[in-house]
Symmetry: C2
Subunit: 348 residues, 2 copies
């Protein structure tokens, strides 16, 4: 490339135009002058349609996520780093160390290039901090009013170390349930910015990459049974899914749930259950009781797990139903159901 | 799952609703009752956030594409099979045999479930015919008016056989340029359906998976230099990109270009250059002259390459410019430029 006969992109005042998605000279210019300024990987520079990865041996984990979060920028992050962390964490929850990331952008005609540039910078920064190269990408443009600024899909590819066998179906009665930090920060950070809902609140998204925390935990013991990041649907959806798949029940201790005061207050204001709020940088771990305290100590020694704690235990299922229950400080129990309606659209 | 307390989805009259993207019970229902009915892979059934692939050894190719084609259904296909073929072909152009596919769906609230069901069926059918399992997926829902029915992103992962080294930078002067079949069918099939542009025309999209054709060609010789599928931007963009990257010129013979009569007629009607039209099931191959006729014979013996032919040759660059030129039947030459403006938005 490099011999475009187009004027340089105006990254301060310019906007996305339909030709940027045409596959012609304007597309090449957007890639060169905006995306390639931020992303520098050998695979991208080769400009194949497909990226080639070096020799890999072992089991691979792969996950794809779409990101449609609104607003695009929020306290603690933006759609760019969220899209990196989201797919990376899914792969980390299989115990894998991430190898490579791909990204697809769907842009709305008229979207400011200055914002796209900030999003690309945030993605590149998240990739660099996580040590995962972006190796392949695609950009499409749709007409004004046919999308909402920018949607991003990312796919992460990782390698699962030998001996690691994480699976939601491996949760067993008497296993303990750990969480790596306070829950619901991401959900409240997004909601605090919503037009019509905006409220004063100093909660930042927990958006973060969790693969080094996972590696630390697996170094203590490969005998973890389940890892899961409680994103959309929150801890409630994540634990209900696991309970269903493993055919077990679960009992959480309400007093043990790490929830920031500001998140708790916002939930009361909005009538939300913190267990339904999305996290984007927390994980749930289910492991045998025998290794729980060693795993917990390792988590607490890691920057992403300083506030880790045990929140419950796995029980035998009560008949055909796999209930997740919560014990209140007064000894009562209530069932934690899946989130039913759409309280929280476009949280990620 | 399986114990939803929701009414079964109405796949004939129902529509996508915001709760289908919430990560709760409605999301699980959409996955179970619509997507899982079509896609049956072990990895999907395991319901991890990330899919685990079996032991793999070797170089991997990975590619991501977003699909925003409009209309969603067109002669010869729909966004579903297009999304499978698109990423699969990108990986095939690296010489790789595809191993697995992932898909992300961005759905607009109100989108008819009946159409989503047909799209999922077409994807599953394309996966089955290509022998590539869909191993992981994600579904998001945005409010009415914030998307356009459905956007799909797919990522394909493939393994590159030892000894295969395809790269656009490997095009060399005196190499020959082959094409696997008639060009522009996909572009015209889409345009013939556009509101305001709709015209009578019996051209069907060429949307197809090309990996078995590639395997056939590589079985003749690993000495292919470049493979490229001329999608967005058509043959003109594909060859200009390769010429730029390899630092070479190219000369095409106009009389050799395989273009159907109906495509030629539609191009004249619409004022389009067939070389700018997208194909979604054709490939360009650049290889040494010494192997060209054997490769061409192998292509012609394959169902996807019956109309394959040589269309030009690679030349030394003329100074700093890497021109792609076309020789007319009368001996004149004209430069084939990149498509400049946005003639053809949302062609894929």
């Amino acid at each position: 490339m490099g011999k475009h006969r187009l004027r340089p992109l105006d990254l301060r005042h310019g906007v996305v135009e339909l030709p940027h998605g045409s596959g012609g000279r304007a597309t090449a210019q957007l890639i060169d002058e905006l995306f390639m300024r931020h992303f520098r990987s050998e695979a991208l520079a080769a400009r194949h349609d497909a990226a080639t990865l070096p020799q890999t041996a072992g089991r691979l984990a792969v996950s794809t996520d779409c990101f449609v979060v609104s607003p695009l920028f929020f306290p603690g992050g933006c759609i760019g780093d969220l899209a990196v962390h989201g797919s990376l964490n899914d792969v980390a929850m299989a115990g894998a160390q991430p190898l490579a990331l791909t990204a697809g952008f769907i842009l709305e005609e008229g979207f400011p290039l200055e914002q796209l540039d900030r999003i690309a910078a945030a993605m590149a920064d998240a990739c660099a901090r996580s040590g995962v190269p972006l190796v392949s990408g695609d950009t499409k443009v749709v007409e004004r009013g046919k999308a909402d600024g920018v949607f991003i899909s990312t796919t992460c590819l990782g390698r699962i170390p030998d001996g690691v066998e994480l699976s939601p179906s491996r949760a067993r009665p008497s296993d303990v349930i750990l969480v790596s930090g306070p829950i619901g920060d991401h959900g409240i950070a997004i909601l605090s910015q919503r037009p019509g809902l905006a409220f004063d609140c100093d909660v930042k998204s927990d958006s973060a990459a969790l693969h080094t925390l996972v590696a630390t935990m697996l170094a203590v013991t490969p005998e973890l049974h389940v890892l899961r990041d409680p994103t959309r649907g929150g801890v409630a959806a994540a634990l209900n899914e696991i309970a269903d798949q493993a055919g077990v029940g679960m009992l959480l201790e309400e007093s043990a749930l790490p929830i920031r005061g500001a998140v708790r207050a916002a939930c009361e204001l909005l009538g939300l259950d913190p267990l339904h709020l999305a996290c984007e940088g927390r994980l749930l771990a289910i492991c045998p009781q025998s290794v729980a305290s060693a795993v917990l100590q390792a988590m607490q020694a890691h920057p992403q797990g300083q506030e880790a704690r045990q929140i419950g235990v796995v029980l035998s299922a009560q008949g055909p139903q796999c209930f997740v229950e919560l014990r209140t400080p007064f000894g009562g129990r209530r069932i934690i159901d899946w989130p039913a309606g759409e309280q929280l659209p476009r949280i990620c």
